[in-house]
C-alpha cells in the first residue's frame, strides 16, 4: 500500500505557482495521479481550468512534456503521440526497453460534451493511453455554463435558477458507463477524498496495456459555491451519499470499490452548496425528490451489475 510520506518524496510533476483558485480540487487529483507511474510521461491537456491556470505565458507549472490541445481533442492528440511512439519504436529510434506513458486529460466539458467523439475514437482504436476526466460539473473556466455533467437542479450560467426554472432540468449523463460500453480494459470512477483508491486506480490505468479511462470528481468551490476549506468533507459526502460511487470496470467486470456503511441522504450533499440553494423553495421540492430517486436507482443498478 502506498504511503503518503513516500509519495511526498517523489518529484512534483505539477508544481507550485499555478493559478488555480483557493481550494481548487484539480491539483489534489493530479498530485496523486501523476505519482502513480514512475515512467516518463507525456500529457495532452484540453482547454479548461487546468490548462489555462498552469500555462499562463511565459510560465508553465508542468515538469513533464505537456501539450495544449484544442478544447475538443485531448484524446486524439495523445493518441497521435502514442502512435508516433510506437512507430519510432518499430524503427528502432526509441530503444525497445524504454517505456513512456501517455495521459490525455480534460474537464467535463472537454470530455462529456465536446471531446466525446475524439475520446470514443481513441478508445475504439485501442491506443495504449490513459484518459482522465476531472469532472467539476461545469464549464468552470468560462464562468460556469452547464455541461452534461452538471447535476439536476444546479444553477449554472446557462441554466440559471429563477421564477421560471429550478436550475438544470436534465439528469447528468453517465459518462463512465458510456466508456465502459467501449469494452476497453479499464474504466474507473474515483474521488480525491479517497486518495488510496484514486492512486490504485491511476496505477492500474497506467500499467494496463490498452486504453484506460478515469472519471474523477473534482471539487470546484468557485462554481459549486461552498466554503472552500470544507472541500474534502464535501467530497466524502459525494461518495457516502452514492452521488459519486467509487467503482471500476476491469475487462467488462464491474466492481464497487466502496460501499458506505450508512448511505447518506443527498440533502447532505446539496445543502452546503450555493448552486443548489433555490431547491429548498417549496415549488422545487420535486427536484430534491427526483434527485434522491435517481441516485438510489443508479446505486441499485451499479450493485446489480457488480453482482453479475
Amino acid at each position: 500500500m502506498a504511503k503518503l510520506k513516500d509519495l511526498a518524496k517523489m518529484e512534483d510533476r505539477l508544481v507550485a505557482g499555478h493559478g488555480m483558485c483557493l481550494g481548487c480540487g484539480i491539483p489534489l487529483i493530479f498530485k496523486v495521479v501523476l505519482r502513480a507511474t514512475e515512467d516518463p510521461l507525456i500529457i495532452a491537456n484540453a482547454t479548461g481550468c487546468l490548462e489555462v491556470c498552469t500555462t499562463i505565458f511565459p510560465r508553465t507549472a508542468w515538469n513533464v512534456t505537456w501539450i495544449h490541445s484544442a478544447f475538443e481533442n485531448a484524446a486524439s492528440t495523445i493518441a497521435g503521440v502514442e502512435a508516433m511512439y510506437k512507430a519510432l519504436k518499430r524503427k528502432g529510434k526509441i530503444p525497445k526497453d524504454k517505456t513512456i506513458k501517455f495521459l490525455g486529460t480534460a474537464g467535463d466539458g472537454g470530455t462529456y460534451d465536446i471531446g466525446l467523439q475524439a475520446l470514443s475514437g481513441t478508445m475504439e482504436r485501442g491506443h495504449d493511453i490513459v484518459y482522465l476526466c476531472y469532472d467539476n460539473n461545469a464549464y468552470a473556466n468560462t464562468g460556469g455554463q452547464r455541461s452534461s455533467a452538471t447535476p439536476l437542479g444546479a444553477s449554472a450560467s446557462t441554466s440559471p435558477a429563477g421564477t421560471q426554472s429550478p436550475g438544470k432540468l436534465q439528469w447528468r449523463k453517465d459518462l463512465t458507463k458510456i466508456l465502459a460500453a467501449h469494452n476497453v480494459p479499464y474504466v474507473a470512477q474515483a474521488c480525491p477524498s479517497r486518495w488510496q483508491d484514486l492512486y490504485n486506480k491511476a496505477k492500474k490505468a497506467f500499467e494496463i496495456e490498452g486504453p484506460a479511462f478515469l472519471n474523477v470528481l473534482c471539487l470546484c468551490p468557485t462554481e459549486w459555491k461552498y466554503e472552500e476549506s470544507k472541500g474534502i468533507e464535501l467530497a466524502k459526502i459525494a461518495v457516502d451519499s452514492c452521488v459519486w460511487p467509487l467503482y471500476e470496470v476491469e475487462n467488462g467486470k464491474y466492481k464497487v470499490n466502496y460501499k458506505p456503511k450508512e448511505k447518506k441522504p443527498i440533502l447532505e450533499w446539496i445543502k452546503p452548496q450555493g448552486r443548489f440553494r433555490h431547491l429548498f423553495k417549496e415549488e422545487n421540492a420535486w427536484v430534491l425528490e427526483e434527485f434522491q430517486k435517481k441516485v438510489d436507482e443508479e446505486w441499485e443498478e451499479l450493485n446489480r451489475l457488480a453482482s453479475l
Binding site: A16, C24, K31, T54, T55, T60, W62, N63
Partner: protein, 104 residues
C-alpha cells in the same frame, strides 16, 4: 522582465523552462487568513501535504515542517483536514498588504 515580441517566440510557443511557474508567488493573493503550524502537535500524517492545492506544505527529511507562505493562498484546507488531537495547523487572521506583484 523584457517584453518579448512575436519574433522572439519559439515555433509552436514551446516552453523549455519546465516548471518555471514557481516564480509566480501565489502567496501574494492570500485570503486574509494564514495557516500556522504547531510542530509539537503534529503526528506526521501528511494529509496537509495531500490536500494543499498550492503545494505550500514544507517537507524536509520526510517530515512536515511548516508552511511555504510564498505559495500559500490561505484556503484553509490543511487546517480543516489536520486530524491531530490538538490541531497542528490553525488559521489566523492576517492583515492583507497590497501585493507588490507576484509575477515577474
Amino acid at each position: 522582465m523584457k517584453k518579448e515580441t512575436w519574433k522572439e517566440l519559439t515555433i509552436g510557443t514551446i516552453n523549455l523552462d519546465a516548471g518555471n511557474s514557481v516564480k509566480n508567488l501565489t502567496g501574494t493573493w492570500r485570503s486574509g487568513h494564514k495557516p500556522e503550524f504547531i510542530a509539537d502537535n503534529c503526528i506526521q500524517c501528511f494529509f496537509c501535504w495531500l490536500y494543499c492545492p498550492h503545494f505550500a506544505i514544507l517537507v524536509e527529511d520526510e517530515e512536515v515542517i511548516g508552511i511555504n507562505y510564498d505559495y500559500c493562498t490561505g484556503c484553509g484546507m490543511c487546517a480543516e483536514e489536520c486530524p491531530s488531537k490538538e490541531k497542528s495547523i490553525v488559521m489566523v487572521k492576517e492583515e492583507i498588504k497590497l501585493a507588490e506583484g507576484g509575477t515577474t
